[in-house]
C-alpha cells in the first residue's frame, strides 16, 4: 500500500463527493478567484459552471453515463498560486482545467499545461479558457491544449471601435485599463483602431492602474474630466470596473463608458442610473433575441438569484460535451482533436472553433444600457439593447499561431 | 607621576545630556598594572564616566588615552580591540547561552576567532582552553552547561566579571562588581578579582569601602561630575574635600 496513493485516493473521494456517482465522472477544475477583490467575478463564474454542468448531466449530452463534476480552486488571480493549484488538480487526476479571470493567470496555465503534457502524456490536461482574452494566447503564445471560447480583446476592440467611429457625438476618448497583459492589449488595440480614423476624434489620455489595488478611482475620474473626455474605453472587469463607474457617478462624470464587462450584476449595481447609454461588447446579453437562452437565463436566475451572464460558459461546456460524445472518450487529446475545427450550432447561430489557433468564432453584439427594453436589471430598471450584431466570420483575424497535433 | 603615555589617561572629559551636564571635566590617570578604584556618592557620574571611557556614549568634550593612543570617539568594539574590557553594574550576559559559551564569547575576539563561518568554533583550541581556565577561576566549572539566565545572582555577577576578563584585555573596568552581594560572596568576589586581574590594569567602581581599601592601589573620588581627590587610600581617607562630599551627600539624604 503506498501512502501517497492512499492520501490521493482520500483526497479524490472528498473532492469528487458530488451528489451523483455515475459510470464516468469527468472532473473540471475551475481555477479562478474565489476570494479577494475579484471574488464576486469568480463566484459568478462558478455558478454558471454548476448550472451548465447540471444541464449536461441531466440531458446526457456528454455521452451515455458520462457526468461532469466541478472542482473549484481559489487562485486569488495569482499566477504562481494557480500553478500550485494546477499541479494539485493534475495530481488528483483532473484532465480539464478551466479559467477565465486574468490573462496573466492564463499565460501561466497554458505554459504549465503544455509542459506537463509533454512530460507526462498519461496525465495530459486540456485548458478551456472562457474569458481570458489577451490576443497572445491564440497568437504568439498559442498551444494545442488551449481552447478559447470568448472573443479576444482585438476582436472585441475591432467591433467596438467601428461603433465608436459611427458615434459623431464623441470627440475625446480616454483609454483606461488594468496594468497587465490584457489591459495593455486593450490599450494598444484602442490606440491602433481609433487614432487617425476620424478627424474630430482623438485619444486624450491613456492610463493603466495596478490590477485590483485601487480602491478610490475619484482622482482618475477627475483627470478624465480635466481632459474633457466624453468617452472612456476600458477593459476593466470586476471590482476595477464597478469602482471606476461608481467614482464616475459620484463625481458627476458625463461621458460614455465603452466596456468589455459592463453586463455583470456586480458592476450594474454600482453603475446605477449613470450607466445609461454606456456600451458593452459581448457574445450575449439578456435582450439578444433567443428564446432558448432566455429560458435558460430564467432558470439560472430562479436557482441562483443572480442575473445570467456567462452564456459562453454554457456554450463552452456544451461544445466540450458534444466533442466528448463524438470522440466517445473523455481523453483530452481525443476530445481536443474533435474540438479543433469543430462546427457547432447553438441558439445564436453557427459557431466554429478555428483549427489554426483554437479561437472560437461566434456572433458578437454591441449593446447599450437603456430603459424600456424587455429584460431589465431590476436594480437600475435598464437593460441592454443590441445596436449591432457582428457575424462570426467578421471577427476572424489573422493569427501568427501554427498548431501541430500532439504526437 | 607615572610613565606618561602608558595606562589610561582621561583629560578634561565632559558629558552633557541635553542641558544637563553630568561629567564636568574629569581628570583621571591610571598607571599600567595599577588597581584603581573610583568612588563617590550616588549620582556623581561614576557609571557615566565608565560609559564614556568604554565608548558606550560619545564624550561631549575631552580626551581619553589608552597606552598613548587617543581612543576618544572610538566605538565600543574598537576600544575593546585596543585592550580595554569592562563589566556592567546591571548584569549584562547572554542569558540563553551556557556559562561556557558566555566565556567563550568573551574570549573569542582575542583568541583568534574573527566573524568567521568557515572554521568550527571547537577548532580553536586556545579559545576553549581560555574559557575553561576562566570558568575554573570563577569556580563555575560545575555549572558549565547551565544557561546564564538560570544562574543564581552571585554566580551571574561572577560570570559578569568572567566575561569581561576572559578575553585577556590588559585593562579592565569593573562597574560595582560586588553590588548586591552578601558578605561572604563579596569576600569570594574580591579574592577572585585579585586573582584574575593579576598583572593587569584594573579600574573599578565600588561602593563597599572595605573592598576599596582592600583592593585598590590608588583611589579617585568623583563628586558632582568632577574628580575631587585622587591618590593612595590613606591619602584619600584623610582628604577634607572627600569628607565634605560624602557628608554633604549624607546630610542631603538625611534631610
Amino acid at each position: 500500500m503506498r501512502l501517497g496513493h492512499a492520501a490521493a485516493a482520500v483526497m479524490a473521494v472528498c473532492l469528487s463527493a458530488g451528489p451523483v456517482w455515475a459510470d464516468e465522472v469527468v472532473k473540471f477544475a475551475l481555477i479562478d478567484p474565489m476570494s479577494g477583490s475579484f471574488a464576486a467575478t469568480g463566484r459568478l463564474g462558478e455558478q454558471h459552471f454548476r448550472f451548465a454542468m447540471d444541464r449536461i448531466n441531466e440531458s446526457g449530452a456528454a455521452g451515455p453515463g458520462r457526468k461532469f463534476d466541478l472542482v473549484v480552486l481559489d487562485n486569488e488571480v495569482s499566477p504562481e498560486k494557480s500553478l500550485v493549484l494546477l499541479r494539485k488538480a493534475i495530481d488528483d487526476g483532473v484532465h480539464y482545467i478551466t479559467q477565465g479571470n486574468g490573462s496573466s493567470v492564463a499565460f501561466a496555465l497554458t505554459d504549465a499545461i503544455a509542459k506537463n503534457n509533454k512530460r507526462d502524456p498519461a496525465r495530459s490536461a486540456m485548458f478551456l479558457n472562457y474569458a481570458a482574452v489577451d490576443p497572445a494566447l491564440t497568437n504568439a503564445k498559442c498551444n494545442w491544449w488551449h481552447f478559447r471560447f470568448d472573443a479576444d480583446s482585438d476582436m472585441k476592440m475591432r467591433a467596438m471601435s467601428s461603433y465608436i467611429l459611427t458615434r459623431k457625438d464623441l470627440h475625446k476618448v480616454y483609454v483606461f485599463n488594468q496594468d497587465y497583459s490584457f489591459g495593455q492589449s486593450v490599450e494598444r488595440g484602442a490606440k491602433e483602431m481609433l487614432t487617425g480614423k476620424r478627424d474630430d476624434l482623438q485619444i486624450v489620455g491613456a492610463e493603466r492602474v495596478p490590477l485590483g489595488k485601487v480602491k478610490d478611482f475619484t482622482p482618475y475620474i477627475q483627470k478624465m474630466q480635466a481632459a474633457g473626455a466624453d468617452a472612456v474605453v476600458t477593459g476593466n472587469w470586476g471590482a476595477d470596473l464597478a469602482l471606476l463607474v461608481k467614482a464616475a457617478n459620484d463625481s458627476g462624470f458625463k461621458g460614455t463608458f465603452f466596456t468589455y464587462y459592463l453586463g455583470s450584476t456586480e458592476v450594474i449595481t454600482e453603475v446605477g442610473q449613470a450607466g445609461r447609454g454606456d456600451a458593452q461588447i459581448s457574445e450575449w446579453h439578456a435582450n439578444v433575441d433567443s428564446a432558448p437562452i432566455e429560458e435558460m437565463a430564467a432558470a439560472f436566475e430562479a436557482k441562483y438569484h443572480q442575473a445570467f451572464y456567462y452564456w459562453r460558459v454554457v456554450n463552452m461546456l456544451d461544445m466540450t460535451a458534444a466533442a466528448m460524445k463524438q470522440a466517445n472518450s473523455s481523453d483530452p487529446e481525443k476530445v481536443g482533436k474533435v474540438l479543433a475545427g469543430m462546427n457547432f450550432h447553438n441558439p445564436l447561430g453557427d459557431v466554429s472553433m478555428r483549427a489554426d489557433n483554437h479561437q472560437l468564432l461566434q456572433p458578437m453584439f454591441i449593446s447599450v444600457l437603456e430603459p424600456g427594453v424587455k429584460h431589465v436589471f431590476p436594480e437600475v430598471n435598464m437593460g441592454f439593447r443590441t445596436i449591432g450584431r457582428i457575424e462570426p466570420d467578421q471577427t476572424r483575424m489573422a493569427t501568427t499561431c501554427s498548431l501541430a497535433n500532439p504526437s | 607621576m607615572n610613565d606618561p603615555g602608558s595606562g589610561l589617561i582621561v583629560t578634561g572629559l565632559r558629558k552633557s545630556f541635553g542641558a544637563l551636564e553630568i561629567i564636568k571635566g574629569v581628570e583621571l590617570s591610571v598607571a599600567k598594572g595599577e588597581r584603581h578604584a573610583v568612588i563617590g556618592p550616588n549620582g556623581a557620574g561614576k557609571s557615566t564616566l565608565f560609559h564614556l571611557i568604554t565608548g558606550r556614549f560619545p564624550a561631549s568634550d575631552g580626551r581619553i588615552e589608552l597606552d598613548g593612543t587617543d581612543i576618544t570617539g572610538w566605538s565600543a568594539h574598537q576600544i575593546f580591540r585596543a585592550g580595554l574590557a569592562r563589566s556592567f553594574q546591571v548584569t549584562s550576559l547572554f542569558p540563553k547561552l551556557s556559562v561556557f559559551e558566555n566565556l567563550r564569547c568573551g574570549a573569542m575576539r582575542n583568541f583568534g576567532a574573527g566573524v568567521s563561518v568557515f572554521r568550527l568554533l571547537d577548532g580553536f583550541r586556545p579559545l576553549a582552553e581560555q574559557a575553561e581556565r576562566t570558568m575554573e577561576a570563577l569556580g563555575l566549572t560545575h555549572r558549565r552547561h547551565v544557561a546564564a539566565g538560570s544562574l543564581a545572582y552571585a554566580e551571574q555577577r561572577a560570570l559578569e566579571i568572567g566575561v569581561a576578563i576572559a578575553g585577556g584585555a590588559h585593562t579592565i573596568l569593573l562597574d560595582e562588581p560586588t553590588a548586591g552581594m552578601s558578605r561572604t560572596e563579596t569576600e569570594r568576589a574580591v579574592a577572585l578579582i585579585r586573582k584574575v586581574t593579576e598583572g593587569r590594569t584594573l579600574v573599578m567602581i565600588e561602593h563597599d569601602l572595605g573592598v576599596v581599601f582592600d583592593l585598590a592601589d590608588r583611589i579617585s573620588v568623583l563628586a558632582d561630575g568632577k574628580v575631587i581627590a585622587s591618590g593612595p587610600p590613606d591619602q584619600v581617607r584623610g582628604d577634607a574635600a572627600v569628607r565634605t562630599a560624602y557628608l554633604g551627600a549624607a546630610a542631603e539624604v538625611l534631610t
Binding site: S35, K213, D216, A226, L243, F253 | -
Partner: protein, 315 residues
C-alpha cells in the same frame, strides 16, 4: 486651478483618514511600545461592524456603536492576549499582533463573506455638494473630513483635560515615567489600547462606505499606517498628523502626474537612451512610482533618523 483644489481636497480626505488610523497607533506605540501590526485589522472590523449595525438600526447609530464595539474588542485583546506575551518582550508582542492580524483577516470573511459587502453611504450624504471645474464633489467626503477634524480636536481635548489624558501625555513625553506611575498602569494600557482600536474602528466606519468594505481592506492600508507612524515619530501625535497629510497629498497629487521620468529628466536638460537597458525606469511615470514613496521614507527614516519627523525618541 480648480482642478488642483479638488486634488488637494482628496488628498486631505485621504490624509485625515490616515491620521485617524495612525493617531490610535501612535498612542499605543507611544504608551506601550507595542507596534500593533493588527491595527488596520481593527479598521476593517470597524467597517464591517458598521455595515452590520447599519443594516439593523441605520448609519448614525452605527457611527457611534461600531467604534465602541471595536474598542471593547481591542481592550479584550490587550487584556487577554497582549498582556500575557508582554513578558516575552517586544518581538513576541510583534509576533502576537502579526498573528492576530492574520486571524482577523481569516475570520472576517468567515462571518461576512469573501465578497465586498454592500455598505453604503447614507442617502442624506449621498449627494453632490458643489461642482468645481465640472466635477461634482460628494457631500460625504466633506463629512469624512469633518469627522476626522472633530476626532482630532476631541483627542487633543481629552489629552489636555482628562486625568487619563494627563497620564498618557506624561507617558508619551517621558516613557520611563510610566514605570513609576503606580498600580493602575496595566489598566491605563488596556484603556489606551482600546481607545486606539476604537479610533481605527471609527476610521473604518467612515471609510468603509466611501471606498469598499472587503476582506482585503486591512492588508492594503496596514503598511501605510506604519509608514505614517514611523515617519511622524513614535509617540508624536502632531508628527503623525503631518506625516498623514503629507502622504495623503503625495499619493493623491502624484496620480495626476503621468509624466515619464525621461521627460522629467529632459526638462532638466538630461537626455537618456529610452530604448536602452533601463527603459523600464525611463518610461516609468511619476504616478506609478508614487506608491513607493511612503515605504521608502519608512525605511530611510528608520535606518537613518529613527526619531522621525517630530518624534523625540527612537524606534
Amino acid at each position: 486651478m480648480e482642478q488642483g483644489l479638488l486634488v488637494v481636497l482628496n488628498g486631505l480626505v485621504y490624509g485625515l483618514l490616515l491620521f485617524m488610523l495612525s493617531s490610535g497607533l501612535t498612542l499605543i506605540v507611544g504608551m506601550m511600545g507595542v507596534l500593533n501590526l493588527a491595527h488596520a485589522s481593527f479598521y476593517m472590523l470597524g467597517a464591517y461592524l458598521a455595515y452590520s449595525i447599519s443594516t439593523v438600526v441605520g448609519f448614525w447609530p452605527a457611527l457611534v456603536l461600531a467604534p465602541l464595539a471595536v474598542g471593547v474588542i481591542g481592550a479584550l485583546v490587550e487584556r487577554y492576549g497582549l498582556r500575557p506575551v508582554h513578558r516575552h518582550g517586544h518581538v513576541a508582542e510583534l509576533l502576537f499582533t502579526f498573528g492576530l492580524a492574520f486571524v482577523i483577516g481569516e475570520i472576517v470573511p468567515l462571518i461576512w463573506g469573501r465578497l465586498p459587502v454592500p455598505y453604503r453611504v447614507p442617502a442624506v450624504l449621498d449627494v453632490p455638494l458643489f461642482a468645481l471645474a465640472g466635477t461634482a464633489y460628494p457631500a460625504y467626503r466633506l463629512f469624512m473630513m469633518l469627522i476626522s477634524l472633530a476626532m482630532f480636536c476631541a483627542l487633543f481635548a481629552a489629552l489636555a483635560k482628562t486625568r487619563l489624558g494627563l497620564v498618557v501625555r506624561a507617558a508619551l513625553t517621558h516613557p520611563d515615567m510610566v514605570a513609576m506611575l503606580g498600580h493602575d498602569v496595566p489598566r491605563v494600557f488596556t484603556l489606551v489600547f482600546g481607545a486606539g482600536c476604537a479610533l481605527a474602528g471609527l476610521a473604518g466606519v467612515i471609510a468603509g462606505n466611501a471606498f469598499t468594505t472587503e476582506p482585503g481592506m486591512a492588508r492594503s492600508l496596514g503598511a501605510i499606517v506604519f509608514a505614517v507612524v514611523v515617519m511622524g515619530g513614535l509617540g508624536s501625535l502632531s508628527g503623525a498628523l503631518v506625516a498623514s497629510l503629507l502622504i495623503g497629498l503625495v499619493q493623491t497629487v502624484s496620480i495626476g502626474l503621468d509624466l515619464p521620468f525621461y521627460k522629467a529628466l529632459s526638462a532638466l536638460g538630461i537626455t537618456v537612451d529610452v530604448g536602452g537597458r533601463l527603459h523600464d525606469l525611463w518610461l516609468l511615470s511619476v504616478n506609478r512610482a508614487a506608491p513607493v514613496v511612503p515605504y521608502l521614507l519608512l525605511v530611510l527614516v528608520l535606518a537613518t533618523r529613527p526619531r522621525g519627523l517630530l518624534g523625540s525618541r527612537s524606534a
